[in-house]
């Protein structure tokens, strides 16, 4: 029960007016950038990181928690109201939600997404509250080889699953691992891959790489193939109180709970993060729909409610390995680790003891942020619609400017900004040729940690390689790689088949809309 009292103390911290304001600021910014196309939570946190150095750790972590949850909420608004799918985890929402909006049921889609996110977020945060301490207690017993095994699992699943092509994901991962090598070796003090440049002796700053890949690379890529003309947003009826009819509630509440049940566990294991969870939930809802199955692909509310809930539950699930093992399983989680490290805090099994106040303040701010989000989101949807309509030339110019500001603010050195452009160009080419950028960020952050574990393991065993696999946990972990990757690839195939099916229906609708417009 001491977890509960710790949590209550966390609440006591967070409800102080200053921290409430920080939380509000976080969820507000998070939702705004979540709504904006082209910006995800990983990039937002990376951008804001240098700018929050003047804040104390608790305030900064609360802001980041708000951004994290807010970003998850905002994405669904975009995919429902814009006519093209956005960030990958909301693709299925885009399919069903967009169809609903076109049929004049956009308000119901937005409401079921927002309330579903709230339900899932709240339940998953409760789960996090109880699961995290258990995992942390168990993780203390893990040895060096066990951690190394866990990291190898994370490398392989992140590399193989965060993208459409396994080999390209692994290439991106190895590029990230290389960037992680640059600098001074921590154990022997030898310089590696610094090419005699003194600036590189401290290594390449992760913030520059993350902002370069996510912000500048994205802006360059979108700029190279910008969709010109006005932004077409599907109009939503006014009066949010009547958004969900009784029948909508009846059809939504089960998918919310099922989505949560699927999302949280999938989020906790390194298996590709929210994408897999949303897809699994979508497939489940489709299977369980019975007589309503025909509606799927044409705007079924279950197809919005379930995946949105799964998406948010997975986002909380990701925090379990992040806080208890220091293991990032998504790009956003990797950036959050960097944020922690920049305040001198190392996530891991001891975090709950050494920084207990901070962790529980973070968890408490997740509860409060969730509440703020559902209150903010529904009434403010008119404003988010206006945010969606920002002219794209200003939007992407702004993204580039804030990226440049963020990396300049690290050391106030123009060289960093130049390096940002170089990384941005790499990100541009990777996007253009289908290399996912997320594994690169994860590899860069996790690489040095993995090397450390590996060398310490072998120092203990005095060079005996079998020590790496003889502990039962490590053996199970290596065995699970095969299962996880096999499952992941099978899922991707299924996902592609289903989305191809849905795309056919979508094209039919688009053609019909186009002919209507022409005949008008």
């Amino acid at each position: 029960m001491d977890n509960l009292s710790a949590l209550l103390e966390g609440f006591a911290t967070v409800v102080q007016p200053v921290y409430l304001l920080y939380a509000l600021f976080g969820v507000f910014i998070g939702t705004a950038v979540g709504v904006l196309p082209g910006i995800g939570p990983a990039m937002t946190i990376a951008l804001l990181l240098p700018l929050t150095y003047s804040l104390e750790p608790t305030a900064a972590i609360i802001v980041f928690a708000g951004i994290y949850y807010g970003g998850m909420y905002g994405g669904s608004t975009t995919s429902i109201l814009l006519n093209t799918p956005g960030e990958s985890s909301s693709i299925v929402t885009a399919i069903e939600g967009n169809k609903m909006a076109r049929a004049g049921r956009g308000a119901a889609a937005l409401a079921t997404a927002a309330i579903g996110s709230f339900v899932a977020g709240s339940i998953a945060t409760v789960a996090l509250t109880f699961v995290a301490p258990v995992v942390a207690r168990w993780a203390v017993q893990l040895g060096e080889p066990d951690y190394f095994a866990l990291m190898v699992v994370a490398f392989i699943t992140v590399g193989a699953l965060l993208g459409t092509s396994v080999s390209r994901g692994l290439a991106s991962l190895s590029l990230g691992l290389f960037l992680g090598l640059v600098g001074t070796d921590t154990l022997t003090g030898q310089q590696r891959f610094t090419f005699g440049v003194p600036n590189l002796a401290d290594g390449i700053n992760v913030v520059i790489v993350a902002v370069g890949l996510f912000a500048v690379g994205e802006a360059l890529y979108v700029g190279s193939r910008l969709r010109h003309g006005p932004v077409r947003v599907i109009p939503v009826e006014k009066g949010w109180r009547t958004w969900m009819k009784r029948s909508d509630w009846k059809r939504s509440w089960k998918p919310w709970l099922r989505g949560t049940l699927i999302g949280f566990p999938v989020g906790t294991i390194p298996a590709g993060g929210a994408d897999v969870a949303t897809f699994l939930s979508y497939a489940t809802e489709r299977r369980l729909a019975g007589s309503r199955r025909d509606e799927f692909g044409r705007g079924a509310i279950e197809g919005v409610a379930g995946p949105e809930a799964a998406n948010n539950a997975a986002a909380s699930g990701v925090l379990v390995p992040l806080l208890t093992l220091g293991l990032p399983t998504t790009a956003t989680a990797a950036i959050i680790i960097v944020a922690f490290q920049s305040y001198g805090i190392q996530p891991g099994p001891l975090l709950l003891q050494s920084e207990s106040a901070l962790v529980w303040a973070l968890v408490a701010s997740l509860y409060i942020g969730n509440l703020m989000l559902v209150v903010l989101n529904l009434p403010l949807v008119g404003m988010w619609v206006r945010v969606l309509q920002i002219p794209r030339h200003y939007l992407y110019a702004g993204i580039i400017l804030f990226g440049a500001l963020g990396s300049y603010a690290l050391n106030f050195s123009p060289i960093d900004v130049l390096l940002l452009l170089v990384i941005g160009l790499i990100g541009f080419f990777m996007r253009r040729y289908g290399y996912p950028v997320a594994p690169m960020v994860v590899g860069m952050i996790l690489g040095p940690m993995a090397e450390d574990r590996l060398r310490r393991s072998l120092a203990i065993s005095q060079g005996d390689l079998s020590y790496l696999v003889t502990s039962p946990f490590a053996a199970i972990a290596y065995g699970s790689i095969i299962v996880l990757v096999g499952l992941g690839i099978w899922l991707q195939h299924r996902e592609r088949r289903v989305s191809a099916e849905l795309e056919k229906i979508a094209e039919g609708v688009r053609d019909a809309v186009a002919t209507q417009e022409v005949s008008r």
Partner: protein, 185 residues
């Protein structure tokens, strides 16, 4: 995300497919670069100093692993591309799946960015920001040019005031605003 999932319209998807042969060389370059990086890391790892006191695993081992991984994946990718298996370029809300890559835009954006970098210390951050924002938005289609530039200036001054003045980030205000207290933390 595959381009098939985000076509702007039925007819334009075909145009995107017709674009494919044109990007063969670029994709091959990236695959070869991955392979080359792997080989480079493998070779360079051998030159890392190993202090005598190191027991078992020294500073070279992990670079060897990383280099080997990049080289193997790079080789697989080169073979895949040569056999005609291409990557799926990333989609997005604002990406026109039917459009060809506009290289001029990319080059111009980079030029504006470099100008920004070299003007920060010369004319101050707010004005360098004006160049970057105004230039980038003009390149991306903002008209008329002076409105883009003025928006950039306003944004630059506001950021300078908020982050430089209020939050105490030491952004250089530049010679023009040197004496203005609100822009300095």
């Amino acid at each position: 995300m595959s381009p098939e999932e985000a076509p702007a319209g039925g007819g334009e998807t075909a145009a995107a497919r017709g674009d494919r042969p044109a990007r063969r060389p670029g994709e091959l370059v990236l695959a070869v670069a991955t392979l080359a990086l792997g080989v480079f890391v493998l070779v360079q790892a051998g030159t890392i100093n190993v202090p005598g006191s190191t027991n078992t695993l020294g500073p070279r081992a992990f670079p060897y692993l990383v280099g080997a991984m990049a080289a193997i994946v790079g080789a697989i990718l080169v073979i895949a591309v040569l056999r005609g298996k291409y990557g799926q370029e990333e989609g997005g809300e604002d990406v026109d799946a039917g459009a060809k890559t506009d290289w001029l835009t990319v080059v111009l954006l980079c030029v504006v960015f470099v100008v920004h970098v070299f003007t920060i210390n010369l004319i101050g951050w707010p004005f360098a920001a004006m160049i970057l924002f105004g230039g980038a938005s003009f390149i991306l289609g903002a008209r008329p040019w002076w409105r883009a530039l003025l928006t950039g200036l306003a944004l630059g001054l506001v950021i300078q005031f908020v982050f430089g003045g209020l939050l105490g980030l030491s952004l250089p205000p530049g010679p023009l605003l040197e004496g203005v207290a609100i822009f300095r933390g």
